[in-house]
Symmetry: C5
Subunit: 351 residues, 5 copies
């Protein structure tokens, strides 16, 4: 189970806006890529530092700066100064224990999201800053999530190079939300597997699997709910940074998050139901075990008693008991009692 809260104790007592990187260092070195494009051309280059700020104001092109690795606090501080980011924004970019949210700082929008890795089921914090003609994106680890966007930008296919920075931000959001479907597919497979186990032979492992599936879905809900809010307020188009035609596309992403949430909730209901079934199954099996015990005891206890009676020290009393017919009579009687018991259990549907 992932930790529910990351150690914020590093920051206790610090003034707001103090820049401390909270979270593990997951990328070896900070890598910054700048992509500048308009309808006609694309240019990509690496950025080493921000001693000189890139001049974007008034430029007709769209600029996308993608930062990988968040531990180099100083570099990010300078970058923030270049783009006029509020100290609280920088603080939140560095503190990777954020809840997804959207904040409108008038000059730019600040968006925090959780990106899921379907394979190892960890999550990573991605921050986006959407300005009038630029998008800044911040990732914790090197990853391929934004590759498709980069390729579409380079190849010039589709609408992406014709639209502005808001469409680029949408395209990045879309990539992140798409990841959720991969996780859902895995979850869905897990549920099917459990259903089969539940019908066949539920074991302790089944129980543990149900539990961890449930915990996973609780944690998933936790990152999807605020995601929905973020995209919902983006799509309502209240900020002038989001232009009319892009809202249609954002509505599409919004539909996807609703779909994701819906599926998670449905899954939770189903998994909760499975726990009840599991409990009932266990009770059922207990019942069966007890029936076997009771049948055995009910048959053999009376018989052992009868046999015991014949072992009592009264043998000299009636010499007859030592006759063969007496022996066979007792045996017959005991067989009769045994069969009667079995018939009784048959009638009560225990067999």
């Amino acid at each position: 189970m992932p930790r529910l809260v990351k150690a914020r104790s590093k920051k206790t007592g610090l003034p707001p806006g103090a820049l401390v990187h909270i979270g593990e260092r997951r990328a070896e070195k900070t890598r910054i890529t700048l992509l500048e494009y308009d309808d006609a051309q694309v240019e990509e280059r690496e950025i080493k530092d921000f001693r000189e700020c890139p001049k974007l104001e008034g430029k007709p092109t769209v600029t996308w700066i993608n930062v990988i690795g968040l531990h180099d606090v100083e570099l990010l501080q300078k970058m923030g100064d270049c783009f006029g980011l509020h100290p609280l924004v920088l603080e939140d970019i560095l503190n990777t224990d954020q809840r997804p949210k959207l904040e409108d700082y008038e000059d730019y929008l600040y968006i925090v999201l959780k990106m899921l890795h379907a394979d190892d089921r960890t999550s990573e914090q991605v921050s986006l800053v959407l300005g009038p003609n630029f998008v800044l994106s911040f990732q914790e680890t090197e990853g391929d999530v934004f590759e498709p966007v980069k390729e579409r930008l380079k190849s010039g296919k589709g609408r992406i190079r014709k639209f502005g920075a808001d469409y680029l931000a949408y395209a990045l959001l879309d990539c992140i939300v798409d990841r959720y479907f991969g996780v859902l597919e895995k979850l869905s497979e897990g549920i099917e597997l459990l259903e089969e186990q539940l019908v066949a032979t539920p074991t302790r492992a089944t129980l543990r699997a149900i539990h961890s599936l449930k915990v996973e879905m609780i944690l998933l809900t936790r990152s999807v709910w605020p995601l929905r809010e973020v995209i919902s307020s983006l799509q309502r188009g209240e900020s002038p940074l989001i232009k009319e035609p892009t809202t249609l596309y954002l509505r599409d992403v919004y539909d996807h998050t609703i779909h994701v949430m819906d599926t998670i909730e449905t899954s939770r209901d189903i998994v909760t139901g499975m726990l009840d079934i599991y409990l009932s199954s266990v009770s059922n099996r207990l019942n069966e075990v007890m029936k076997v015990l009771t049948i055995i005891a009910t048959i053999f206890m009376p018989l052992t008693f009868i046999v015991g009676v014949y072992g009592m020290n009264f043998e000299k009393l009636w010499p007859d008991v030592a006759e063969p017919w007496a022996f066979w009579l007792v045996m017959l009687a005991m067989a009769g009692i045994g069969l009667a018991m079995l018939a009784y259990f048959k009638k009560r549907k225990w067999l």
Copy 2:
């Protein structure tokens, strides 16, 4: 259990609006029917392709184009171009893993719904596009759901040919919602059957039946909830494409969906209650099994002990124990102990 999410992995990394058919190919070939009508006449014909777009603008008649089978991406692309459909609409028509929704594109409304097949309990995606004087409908499989509408159109009975395209869309919606009642009737029968089993002899199969009924209802809820929203916003008459008199009829369909939702929720509550009853029943039966075991053990264990005492090697001690009266005395004592035990159990209401 149907899959909770369809494999969207085909689409990962594709730009938005990319046309890929998601879902199984369920119709052998794409079949397109065009129905043109006004108050006075009806004309029906098949359409092979959309090399020429049907000219509808300014026409006084209403045109209904019904498409069956969604795998021919190219054909649908052309059709979309003819009617000026937004790329996202075409994408959603082809992606059959949609949540029911209504989207207003000003020139037309786009509606996605789930249609249920009561017999095999599968669901199918149906898309409707409502323009000023036309309705486009898209089905996955050949089916008779829209037959009654077609017949009413041809026979000219009722109001259908007097009203516009919005009434036609309403009529199609009504057909789809009516299907839900069929499914509810089946569900309701299933519940009654389970109630009877629960009272008579609940078995493991009962448990499994309760579980699958519950899952089915969870999945049903999932398609009805958004359906309600769709029809609710249609009926509020916010779009100029929906005229005043039709809203009354849409309110009627809305009532039906509320009725459906209500019934599903009631059923869920009842089925959840059945699970509790089942669990209690199992516990109850365990109790009964244990009582039988305890009664048998409590009667025969002391008796076997007594019998054992008489089997001890002390027989030479008192020759008296070998006398008949001693034997009968012991027997009597044992019968007395047995009866006392039975009386005790009778008193405690175990018998």
Copy 3:
């Protein structure tokens, strides 16, 4: 358990507004009574058919037409034509599987309600149409629910003849809501009875009683919730058909429905709690049964073993074992072991 949905299959494929009576025929023949009154006088007469429509427009009196029995579709069709009822209203009057609702058709209000019969716990659909100076009421069966209103009209007591048609509609609603209190009283008695059983000796029958009480309350909730909405929107006085002084009275009925709902919800919570208590009781009793078994087994198994040891074929070994003191020693030892066991169980609070 009443059916959750009535067979609507009769209607599949029919155009909206098609008149089909859904539900059992519960009254032998349709009986129509007309009551015309103003402050000064009352006149009552039977109506056989609607070949001639009663002329009400501009009349200063209030007219109440009460219809019992809904199977005569033709007659109701003509009646609907007389009063200018929308086809959908007529359809809903005939289809007795409606959810309570209020529909505003500007010229008149259409209200559907469920009336409960406290004795056999069945429900009946009652429709009301409130026009400017008339009220139409439709019942499925002959019944005395509206008798008090009729009598107050005839005797001229109270305010009823001084107020208009809206007050008459209120009076009828009040009668129907009052019926719910009768049902609640019965439910409340049922709960008290169950509480007593639960404390004394819970049996399988208790479990079944809890379950059916719960189902009954679920179904009750289902008809009360929409009733509340109906009366709430009536009382808000949005329709000009409801005059100011009547809204005060409607607020009173509204309070009653809230009270009903409240009581049902409270009852549901209590009954749900009873199920938990039942389950705990069953577990408790299982515990007690097992303790008896364990005590018996723990005492007699070791003793039987000791007795068995003395039955082993070693008697020639030590002649002493056949001495009286040896026998009494063993007996004493066994009594000691038995008492020690009992003391141990006493200490663990099993006895």
Copy 4:
């Protein structure tokens, strides 16, 4: 458990506004006290009847009439006429099975509340009528709840005599809400007691105590929820009868009701959790009982079998078995088996 609904059957069929006292007669005779005060002086007197109405209009003083005992319908009818109360208000004052509510009749506010008696946990209905310069209060039984207000009025301490009738109404409300804290303190003690029992030795009585605590809290919720609504709408100051400075005080009472509700909800969650713990405890103890049984059976069943083998009639076969060393060998072997079993149970943590 108190009845969920009081017998309203007395009233079935009566016109609205018909005056019938519903509830037990709890005060011996109706007692009416009138208190008239302004900043300078206070005057108190008893009122026997309302043959003459007290003239209040235009008076600069505030008048408080407190009525104890509601069975004298005629007297209350006259009183209602004096103050121009709507028939529905009088009806509700007499019908003590009301849900707490606030009704605005423009000339006056009508407030119904439930007052709790902490000692015997019964509740009583209190009605308040707040006019421009008077407050009428109606209690079922003689009680001291309003004593502190009376004393403050007489002594002239605090602000009470400086403010108007609205402040008086607030002071009375405050007294009633304060009572709830007393009940909460008792509940809280009950919960603590149960927690201790649960940890020490949960018995059947614990279960019953949990159940009745839960029922009590359900019933409490039922009277607090509407109380909250009442005070919330008073405090919003929508009626001109409530003046600005009093709303601050009403906000304070509102905070108290929120606090009460909060505590009840928290308590319900805790008590619900206790039931789960109880169930788990019972299961746990069953487990322990079964372990004892299993350990005993597992040790003595094999031993008894071995002993039985030596009791078989083969003794003439090997004379050796009658040798001392053989006996001790068998004994040793049995001791070994017993110890091995104990070691096995130790290892599985059963001991």
Copy 5:
């Protein structure tokens, strides 16, 4: 478990605004510190009494008065008079059984909060009064929670001395909310520990730990929910006392409380799930215990019976039974039966 309500009985019958300290006396003596600062300088001094009111009106500096210890009612009364606090505010400061709330008295805002002590998990009430150029803070005990703010004020680092009283109030709020994260970290560790225990060997102590964790979270929710409301309404900036730039910082604190609430809710879901797992585990283990018992009984009961048969007094009947081959035959047969039983249990997966 902390008490759910503090004894308010001290106050029953007192007029509103009566000053009584409710809660334990937790600080030895009341200590009052005054801090006056502007951008250029800071001055700190102790205040002994309020015989003279500090003159703040019109001063350009910000003044922060921090009071520790609330039992000196007289002193606080005087202080309240100095700052023109409403009697209800003073009453609430002294009554430490408040629900967190924000009250707008136009001239100042009154804020009540609960501060948590992570180490001993108790909570303390902190009151803040925010005026135009001053902040009053009231704590129950001496503590270091506001130390960081004091230090930042003295050192002049950050923005704190450049902003006004509203920013100071924000800084204090931030300190209090930060404390919640410490508590969450501890809770989170507790959950992880329990998860491990649950997987390894769940005992009675695990159950009790789950229960107390749940109760703790219920109580936590209770103080965080209203905290959220408080900060939410502060951040909406409805009061002119909160200036524009500070709202951005308050939004940040608001995010933190949302984060806290989210984590608590997630934790509650997980802990609730753990209880189900615990119950299932107990049932599972019961099952296993019963299987051992049943296996032992099923093997040895028939064998003991056979052995008993050979102990019957028929030995003179067939001298053969005393032959070695007969003995070995019986032994072989019994071994066969035992092995068959084991094979049967193997097949049913009991072994």
